[in-house]
Amino acid sequence: MKVGKRLKSTVCSTNVVVVRAADVTLSCGGAPVVEELAGEPSGELATGLDGGTQLGKRYVHEPSGLEVMCVQAGTGSLSVDGVVLEVKAAKSLPASD
């Protein structure tokens, strides 16, 4: 896992980009995400990991410091060790340029 990498869900259309890397396994819809996906996503979302991802939101895993940004939304939830990642509150800054 490297900062700047695009990671893809194997079970839904979710794509994230790594903002802060950590040595953990990130899953989406219960299945580990991959860098290269051959063909279309397939398979079932795991129960409880089907809350979906929102385009443009940041997701964090507090214990490891992992932070990713959703660059394509999907129906699966992001998780590490079965724990669903939380949406990081957006900092609303006034436009400066």
Partner: protein
């Protein structure tokens, strides 16, 4: 991680929304992505290592910016106000380069055998030919985050200009940490009037794409065109540099135009006189004002004085709070900021030193060398201090500080006092080589229209208000002061002129 990802996300959100308006032309986010990818494909085939653009603010700029990124090469927007020989030198440093020149600029630039020079018309035509789809865009919007996205020539009035390097990760971090994705309403439109070879012209385009805010390109700035475009396009957001704002207010007052759609005006890129800010707030009471401080080397903004800060300062009777109208605000959350002395000691509130910043958006890098320390801190060369609440006040460039008999004197401090005299419209203060003191303080002033020369009484005027070491030993009257086109006072030019001597006062 690439700046194109900002665009593919905007397409994902709503590809049919208008992204860019340039004159009669409108591009949706999907159009912009398709054209950028088509240009990228053509540039890759061509094998240029850099793309350069010499153009007013037109639709070509965002296409060239994202198109270069699609080809994995950086875009270098060039300053069309430079003399032709200097532009030719700049182009030579980018070779092999694909240079695109817009119809609105008349420069005659020489290119080498490995380079191409094409009109932006060719860029736009090439970019419409491609059969690319947004779906394809989503899968190849990656670039090496380490690869350069933008090259910007510094203005350096003496010596060879440096070329600042901004990598994809710097710009991506800057935009995604300061802008909330897709939060702009469908009615929002930002006018970009800062030239595209200025960092704010670039970050404005990137940030607006990510926000989903329509970009209206103002080809080149005049206060009349700015006001007319703002009214016609129902502009809600705009960013201006100091020299623009006063002239815009003149036109607004003259025409009785209130710009009811305008709600957000940010300013930066140089020191804004407090009276101009006060006048702007008075003329446009429905508008939120934002003062931003940033540098090319930091991917733009590092501190912000927000709308609420402006309102508090305007309403306050506490001089310390009121003074914040002259501050550049507090660091954005993704930036660490320190003020340090010569020995690197971190200074406390009220102590003047050099401003240092650290954060993922900080590039601090040139093609010639890296200027960021190993621990990530970047020395801005700007002098300033923080107040007790963490608001930053700038006191000019470290290079402009006058050292008189071992004492450091900030030119702004003296300039502010001179400019507060009713007969003085503007002032520049510099150090002139002096056998006794090392440097002595001298001033150049511009008179208010019709005012009598107040030079004789200015010494007493300054002495009453500042320490005697600050009193200029000579005051020269000039018809105008040298500013660069983005409103920065060129003290270096004043200093060189006065150091040569033989100047009349």
């Amino acid at each position: 991680m690439s700046i194109i990802m900002l665009l593919t996300m905007a397409v994902e959100l709503d590809g049919d929304r208008v992204a860019v308006t340039a004159g009669e032309e409108h591009l949706t986010y999907r159009d912009l992505l398709e054209r950028s990818r088509a240009l990228g494909a053509e540039l890759s085939e061509q094998g240029a290592e850099n793309v350069a653009l010499l153009d007013l603010n037109t639709a070509a700029f965002p296409i060239a910016l994202f198109g270069a990124a699609a080809a994995g090469v950086p875009l270098a927007p060039l300053n069309y106000r430079l003399a032709d020989d200097r532009l030719s030198e700049a182009v030579a440093r980018l070779s092999p380069v694909a240079l695109f020149q817009g119809p609105g600029v008349s420069n005659q630039v020489a290119v080498g055998p490995a380079d191409t020079l094409l009109p932006t018309g060719a860029l736009l035509a090439a970019a419409t030919a491609g059969p690319a789809t947004a779906d394809q865009g989503a899968v190849d919007d990656m670039a090496d985050p380490e690869s350069p996205a933008v090259l910007l020539f510094t203005s350096g009035t003496t010596g060879t200009p440096k070329i600042a390097v901004l990598r994809h990760r710097h710009l991506f971090s800057y935009v995604t940490s300061t802008v909330e994705f897709g939060h702009a309403g469908p009615e929002e439109a930002i006018m970009v009037s800062v030239p595209n070879y200025h960092i704010a012209g670039i970050s404005s385009v990137l940030g607006s794409v990510f926000a989903g805010r329509r970009i209206v390109q103002l080809p080149s700035f005049s206060p009349e065109a700015w006001v007319e475009t703002a009214a016609r396009e129902r502009i809600t957001h705009a960013m201006v540099v100091p020299t623009m704002l006063g002239r815009i207010l003149d036109v607004l007052e003259e025409r009785g135009e209130k710009l009811p759609a305008l709600r957000h005006l940010s300013y930066g890129g140089g020191r804004m006189p407090v009276p101009v800010v006060e006048r702007a707030v008075g003329d446009l009471p429905h508008v939120d004002f934002v003062n931003a401080y940033g540098l090319t080397e930091t991917s733009s903004t590092v501190t912000i004085l927000g709308p609420e800060d402006h309102r508090e300062a305007m309403a306050s009777l506490d001089p310390a709070v009121r003074a914040r109208l002259g501050s550049v605000g507090r660091p954005v959350p993704s930036i660490e900021l320190e003020v340090r002395d010569h020995d690197g000691r971190v200074l406390g509130a009220g102590e003047v030193g050099e401003v240092f910043v650290r954060g993922e958006q900080v590039a601090g890098e040139y093609t010639s060398h890296k200027a960021v320390a190993d621990d990530g801190w970047y020395a801005t060369r700007d002098q300033g201090h923080l107040d007790a609440d963490g608001f930053l006040f700038l006191r000019g460039r470290a290079d402009d500080i006058i050292v008189r008999g071992g004492e450091n004197i900030s030119p702004e401090e003296v300039e502010d006092v001179l400019a507060s005299h009713p007969a003085v419209a503007a002032a520049a203060v510099v150090g002139v080589p002096d056998l006794e003191w090392g440097e002595r303080v001298e001033a150049v002033i511009v008179l208010e229209p019709g005012a009598a020369d107040p030079s004789a009484e200015l010494t007493a005027w300054v002495r009453e208000r500042l320490r005697s070491t600050r009193v200029p030993s000579a005051v020269h009257v000039r018809p105008q002061l040298p500013f660069n086109e983005t409103g920065k006072l060129l003290r270096r030019v004043v200093r060189e002129e006065l150091a040569k001597g033989g100047t009349s006062s």
